[in-house]
């Protein structure tokens, strides 16, 4: 073997034409260029920062912030809070609007996507118009519309619009009744948590049983009982301990209740409707990707429409839907940074906006912001990839 290969071996080419050597040269050249760019950018930045007398490093993290934020999930005040705390306030606000937006846009998107495939002509046409209009307009324009054209012109608190269940809507936001937990109120929360855990355990067990014996258990009914009926029973058993404080007019403002700021409402509505337009198309494509033969085969086996959809079409559609759905979730999270345009205090508005302006430490602040979004993106796609792998088609 070795002798034959030695015989056929062609004459050694010049080093100039050796692909391996060429590869090394190209890579080295690229590294040198990139290295030089980074080095010159860094040295310029140091020079410029020194000229502008801006400190570098993360010392600003513990300095007093000196500004206030209207919506905060953790304590924060103009006096005594630091830039570091401002960062956490912004980050939590971003995560809050993104997580609620993801849930809502998933529901709306699936609804619209299915509606586009409806046999009802007017339903499918309306869904089509929704998708076309929403997807072809910039998100920023839509946010301006919701914030400036819909929520701003609302009446002042004295002439609040009264919605059902004690909700009030005015130009300072949406006022929601504030639940107060009396003695024993905690038990309801515990009952709800226990119900959720028990449902998961039961579902797991039922799946195992079905795989082993083929016997099916009523998962939906048990879940309903555990998650909804059990807390309700506890609620009545402990003597209805939850009372609501309703918002009411006091002077020129409203008192009581939880105030949801108009910036939050506008951003949430804008993000939800915008992303739902994209999710709708993802869902439609996923359902269309399941070949008609699958439905026909299920019908031939005697499955009715409901089980066909649940057991045959949707599981296969999900395989097509999940990867683009993930990127839409990531897009929603990234798009929440547009909050800066309408003044919702998210990470970009609080940190990259206000903190950057006050400290002037552009490099650190922008780097931290980017690192946060990068982490969110990578973590989300990591988990979705695991989920995707579990759902993906295993070919034998």
């Amino acid at each position: 073997m070795s002798t034959t290969s030695a015989e056929i071996k062609p004459g050694k080419a010049s080093l100039l034409y050796d692909p391996k050597i060429r590869g090394y040269v190209y890579q080295f050249a690229l590294l040198a260029v990139v290295g030089f760019l980074i080095w010159s950018a860094a040295s310029n930045a140091i020079e410029n920062l020194r000229a502008q007398k801006i400190a570098s490093g993360f010392g600003f993290w513990h300095n007093a912030a000196g500004f206030d934020v209207n919506q905060k999930l953790i304590p924060f005040s103009a006096s005594g809070s630091t830039y570091g705390q401002a960062f956490w306030v912004g980050l939590l606000n971003t995560l809050l609007v993104a997580s609620i937006g993801i849930v809502l846009s998933t529901f709306l998107g699936f609804f619209v996507g299915v509606a586009r495939l409806s046999s009802n002509w007017i339903v499918s046409k309306l869904a089509m118009i929704y998708v076309e209009v929403i997807r072809n307009l910039p998100l920023l324009l839509q946010l301006f519309f919701w914030y400036n054209a819909v929520l701003k012109p609302l009446p002042n608190p004295r002439q609040s619009i009264e919605l059902p269940a004690g909700f009030l809507l005015n130009n300072r936001g949406l006022y929601v009744p504030d639940p107060q937990f009396g003695p024993g109120g905690n038990l309801i929360i515990w009952a709800l948590l226990i119900g959720l855990v028990a449902t998961f355990v039961f579902r797991f067990w039922a799946r195992k049983q079905q795989a082993a014996t083929g016997k099916q258990y009523p998962i939906g009914l048990v879940a309903f009982g555990l998650i909804i009926v059990l807390p309700l029973l506890v609620y009545f058993a402990t003597g209805r301990p939850i009372t609501f404080v309703y918002p009411e007019l006091a002077g020129f403002n409203l008192r009581g209740g939880i105030q949801i700021f108009p910036e939050f409402v506008a951003l949430l509505v804008g993000l939800t409707t915008y992303t739902a337009g994209f999710i709708a198309e993802v869902v439609r494509a996923g359902i269309l990707a399941v070949s008609k033969g699958q439905t026909e085969a299920a019908n031939a086996l005697g499955l009715r429409a409901g089980p066909t959809l649940k057991l045959v079409v949707i599981p296969q559609a999900m395989r097509v839907i999940i990867p683009p759905l993930t990127s839409n979730y990531l897009n929603l999270t990234k798009n929440s940074s547009l909050a800066v345009a309408i003044g919702y205090p998210d990470l970009v508005q609080v940190f990259t906006g206000t903190v950057l302006n006050q400290t002037g430490q552009a490099v650190e602040v922008v780097a931290i912001t980017m690192a946060v979004y990068l982490t969110i993106s990578l973590v989300t796609s990591f988990f979705m990839n695991i989920y995707n792998k579990r759902m993906a088609l295993v070919e034998r």
């Binding site: 690229l30 009802n120 007017i122 307009l137 910039p138 920023l140 970009v348 552009a362 922008v366 980017m370």
Partner: protein, 459 residues
């Protein structure tokens, strides 16, 4: 059947004449059946239909009344659009759009110099039509025009001033030199022999002199024509400098979008090739760039360009305020474009690579002649989709203080001259129509291309 008829012949009734064709029964065809099948097929469907009908009846007439029937079309100030001044209910205030239309297109660009913007618009439209219209002639020339000549001309025309004129002079010199070189080459037969090889000399010598000046040389000729035209403009009406702070409106929106596509497409191709390269360092750097940029919001990229770019270069070269977001948008779009192009590269069958290699082509010739033309053609819809996203994202430059189209609208909304209750609704509706027409047109185009490309797959 035949047995029956022959057996029972005397009693059988045989119709001699053909019956008139009957219309289909109402229950399976016609408008009534259509309504029954598509709107009222089940109780759930009836309910849905009623809800949707309510939505339509509730909203559409009101919108039509607001935007067309009650709208004010002419006027010079807010008085024309105030209900108590006019004495009737007032809808949209289109007079305000008409009054501010110039501002929406040009921003604060000096009125006497707006013809320059118009020339760029015309060139841009020409380039777009040239590239997108499938049966347009000389596509290569069109690509050269759109990706090389248009950016140079736009820079010279829009900015003007001594710097731009020096740049124009430099371009003119280079093309003149190239043209002169080609002229010499095509007139001297010996040089021609040396230049294109023995075999073709006879053919070339048969051709008239003006036809020898052909091939890639037409690019040079075309460039020369454009540059001479620009220099004439620069010399006779003059091109005083217009600072970028004065630019605005649709001009800036189209400018950012065009810069985004012109720079992101080649950069995206390079990045995609880098990502599929077998050289580990090149691959790693491409992956890092693509994943990093795709993992962060455009807003942070714009903030970075706006605040950090001036830090990264020496003080005296500090980039222009408009240039910074342009760089950010181009880099951002390039990362997305790279993934689209990668899809096309991955869709190429291995045989195409092997075929190219068996012809003895090197890496770059293989990519340029065999792989990229096919790969890019596959992903034209993807490229257009990325471009739609880019076009919508141009609005974000508003946030870093650039006067794009949306910002000019926002700016006029706070102007007291046209402050009426309906100005805002009108302004946003106008912006919506503009963005919708652009994006929807592009998406229709991409669907048409997709259909045309799929024609070969249909059986």
């Amino acid at each position: 059947m035949t047995d029956a008829t022959t057996e029972m012949a005397p009693y059988a009734f045989v119709r001699r004449e053909t019956l008139e064709q009957q219309p289909a029964p109402l229950s399976v065809a016609g408008p009534l059946a259509w309504v029954r099948q598509h709107l009222l097929s089940s109780p759930l469907n009836i309910a849905l239909t009623l809800v949707c009908l309510y939505l339509v009846v509730d909203s559409v007439p009101g919108l039509i009344r607001f935007y067309f029937l009650d709208a004010v079309w002419t006027g010079t100030s807010r008085d024309a659009c105030l209900a108590d001044k006019v004495g009737r209910p007032v809808g949209a205030c289109w007079a305000y759009i008409a009054d501010r239309f110039q501002y929406f297109i040009y921003g604060s660009y000096p009125i006497s110099q707006r013809w320059r913007v118009n020339i760029v618009f015309v060139m841009f439209a020409l380039g777009v039509v040239w590239l997108l219209w499938t049966s347009a002639p000389k596509k290569k020339l069109g690509i050269f025009f759109f990706f090389v000549l248009l950016p140079i001309s736009a820079y010279v025309l829009l900015l003007g001033g001594p710097g731009a004129e020096r740049f124009l002079g430099f371009c003119l010199t280079v093309t003149l030199a190239l043209a002169a070189l080609y002229v010499v080459l095509s007139f001297v037969p010996q040089l021609v022999r040396f230049y294109i090889g023995e075999a073709a000399v006879g053919v070339v010598q048969q051709l008239p002199i003006w036809k020898r000046f052909f091939g890639p040389k037409q690019l040079v000729l075309f460039a020369l024509a454009i540059f001479v035209f620009l220099s004439l403009l620069a010399n006779s009406p003059g091109l005083p400098r217009v600072d970028t702070g004065l630019w605005g409106g649709m001009t800036v929106t189209f400018l950012i979008a065009a810069v985004g596509i012109v720079f992101s497409l080649p950069l995206g191709v390079v990045l995609a090739l880098g990502r599929r390269s077998r050289l580990p360092i090149i691959q790693l750097l491409s992956v890092i760039f693509i994943e990093f940029v795709r993992g962060v919001p455009l807003i942070t990229v714009l903030f970075m360009a706006n605040t950090m770019l001036p830090l990264f270069v020496p003080q005296e070269y500090s980039p222009d305020r408009l240039l910074r977001p342009l760089v950010g948008v181009a880099l951002f779009a390039a990362a997305y474009m790279a993934e689209v192009v990668r899809g096309g590269l991955q869709a190429m069958p291995k045989g195409q690579y092997e075929g190219a290699m068996s012809l003895g082509l090197g890496y770059w010739s293989m990519m340029r002649l065999i792989i990229l033309p096919q790969a890019l053609r596959i992903v034209i819809p993807g490229i257009v989709n990325t471009f739609i996203g880019l076009f919508k994202d141009t609005t974000l430059v508003t946030i870093v203080g650039i006067f794009d189209f949306l910002r000019t609208i926002e700016a006029t909304l706070v102007d007291p001259t046209w402050a009426t209750p309906t100005t805002r609704a009108t302004g946003y509706a106008f912006a919506a129509v503009f963005y919708f027409l652009c994006c929807w047109g592009m998406s229709r185009y991409s669907i048409a291309v997709e259909k045309r490309l799929a024609a070969g797959q249909k059986r």
